[in-house]
């Protein structure tokens, strides 16, 4: 008897929820704002779907409705990816420890 691939994906999903649960609880509360901006950046990995949709078919189809929606999604996700990672970097660069010589 063969297992539906959906079950495998569901397993990944459920296990990832548990990983997320434990990893996020160990995030220090002072970094909760960077946590939000970085989760925002990584959820934009939805861009992979947008790329497949945008580049589908030959060049004649590139301005078909489905492809155009793909391109629009690429722009939105790109804003998020660059904006999210850079703003996280900017924030994290500000967190400094006490200087010892004081």
């Amino acid at each position: 008897m063969e297992i539906d691939p959906f079950i495998f994906r569901l397993s990944i999903f459920i296990l990832a929820i548990f990983v997320g649960y434990y990893v996020v609880w160990s995030v220090t509360p002072s970094l909760h704002t960077p946590l939000m901006s970085v989760t925002n950046a990584i959820s934009s990995v939805i861009i992979v779907g947008a790329i497949v949709a945008a580049l589908a078919g030959d060049n004649v189809k590139i301005f078909g409705t489905a492809n155009v929606f793909g391109f629009l999604a690429i722009v939105l996700a790109a804003v998020n990816i660059f904006g999210g990672f850079l703003v996280t970097h900017r924030m994290l660069a500000m967190y400094k420890k006490k200087k010892k010589d004081k």
Binding site: P29, V45, I47, I51, A56, A93
Partner: protein, 464 residues
């Protein structure tokens, strides 16, 4: 590239994203974590482009769109002031939501590309997954727009409620499920469009009844939704990187919402059903405002703090509004020169998003090991000489412990009252967001400093 190899690369991206979140467990490893996240994203995008095998016109357009979006994102990331982080995050969530909707639409219109069947004959499972992804994405989009407008002050922060609101939301929710059911049976395109339209409406209706003070919960909740939307699309596209990321982000947002609700001692449903405090209850306090208050000036405050051996600073949203974080750091520097021990106490719901105060203090070069969370510092108030409350109010209100009638009863508070003296920087005696009077104002050991937080702090520094 074979499908199996592609899947392995997506798995690697997923693992790198987990490491990115893991890095945030301490500020020292966090920068490395962010770097892992960037690598994971680069891998996912790179292998996807290679796998499509399209390097002609489409690829050129792809690069142009990537660069346009990327430059907008980078520009915003460098320009945004740290006080505006909550709006920025809300705005970014709306983009993830809309991107999810667009990808779902592409998949619906052109299912062959994703191996989901043919237009009019899409696999039922895929149809359910993409409908859910699109609906949650649409709710995230409009919900985040409303949150953005409220945070930015373009829309009033007070809750908008009307009779039958919850009933309407419930009815729309059931309608969405019915549409998904008929969509699976008939595969009609118009059903898919109406599904998205109704979900847009639900997003608006869900966020308008929630007041300004509850924004930390709303932002965390929308963070969670954007994750579930991504996971829904991930199931449709059979992409493990998306499924893993969606699950991570979804649970991350859910945990943050939980922490925020706990910080206010309110249940999640209580926040979501909305309409707490703000305008209606502020009238109650008017009768009490006759009580005597000790009013001080900058010199008094400077004298008190200079002669103290330890001072605890309690920042709140008012500090962010007044942009007083840099002035505060300068004041603390002069205090330290006088040999005073200074630490900062941060309540979980201070500010408009989780961790907001910590970022502002970090921006002002306050070392993160001087900043403490509620449970770590609360016992120290009893031994501290001066508590300097700047822009915080409800989170210090002792009524949360004493009066079961109070709307904030049971909320964990910072025990500012236990310190020998309290300096309260505030523009007036008006109550805070919860709309309740703060008993602390009238205490014997409290000195009120009526002024703008930034100006008062600067004046104190001068007198030191």
């Amino acid at each position: 590239m074979s499908a199996n190899l592609l899947a392995v690369f997506y798995l690697i991206s997923g693992v790198l994203f987990i490491l990115a979140l893991r890095g945030l467990s301490s500020p020292e490893t966090s920068r490395q974590g962010n770097f892992f996240g960037i690598i994971g994203m680069a891998i996912a995008i790179g292998v996807t482009i290679i796998s499509t095998g399209n390097f002609s016109t489409g690829f050129v357009y792809l690069l142009i769109f990537l660069i346009v979006g990327g430059s907008i994102g980078a520009y915003i990331a460098f320009k945004i002031p740290m006080t505006a982080m909550p709006e920025l995050v809300a705005g970014f969530h709306s983009l993830v939501g809309l991107a999810a909707v667009f990808v779902a639409i592409s998949a619906f219109l052109n299912p062959e590309v994703f191996n989901l069947g043919f237009p009019g004959k899409i696999k039922i499972a895929s149809l359910i997954e993409m409908s859910l992804g699109a609906a949650i994405g649409a709710i995230t989009f409009t919900g985040s727009i409303i949150a953005f407008l409220k945070l930015r002050g373009l829309m009033s922060g007070s809750p908008i409620t009307f009779i039958g609101q919850h009933f309407l939301n419930l009815a729309l929710g059931i309608l969405i499920l019915c549409i998904v059911f008929f969509l699976c049976n008939t595969q009609q395109e118009y059903l898919f469009w109406s599904l998205i339209a109704i979900a847009f409406l639900v997003g608006v209706l869900l966020i308008i009844p929630i007041g300004g003070a509850d924004m930390p919960v709303v932002i965390s909740m929308l963070n969670s939704y954007s994750g579930w939307a991504a996971a829904g699309i991930g199931f449709t596209l059979e992409n493990s990187a998306l499924i893993i990321t969606g699950a991570l982000v979804g649970s991350s947002g859910a945990i943050l919402s939980y922490i925020m609700c706990k910080g206010m001692n309110r249940s999640f449903f209580n926040v979501i059903l909305g309409g707490w405090g703000a305008s209606e209850e502020s009238s109650k306090s008017s009768s009490k405002e006759q009580k005597p208050v000790k009013n001080g000036n900058a010199d008094d405050a400077a004298f008190l703090m200079k002669n103290a051996s330890s001072v605890i600073i309690v920042p709140g949203y008012g500090m962010a509004v007044a942009q007083a974080q840099h002035a505060l750091r300068e004041m603390v520097d002069s205090l330290k020169k006088n040999g005073v021990k200074v630490s900062y106490a941060i309540h979980p719901v201070a500010g408009r998003m989780p961790g907001h105060m910590n970022v502002l203090l970090a921006e002002a070069n306050v070392p993160y090991d001087e900043v403490f969370e509620l449970e770590d510092i609360n016992n120290d108030f009893a031994n501290c000489d001066v508590a300097y409350v700047i822009g915080a109010n409800d989170v210090t209100n002792p009524v949360a412990k004493t009066d079961p009638q109070s709307p904030i009863y049971g909320m964990p508070i910072l025990d500012v009252e236990k310190s020998k003296s309290v300096l309260f920087v505030k523009r007036s005696l008006s109550p805070g967001y919860a709309g309740i009077d703060n008993d602390l104002f009238y205490r014997e050991n409290t000195l009120m400093l009526f002024a703008d937080a930034k100006k008062m702090t600067e004046d104190i520094t001068k007198s030191l």
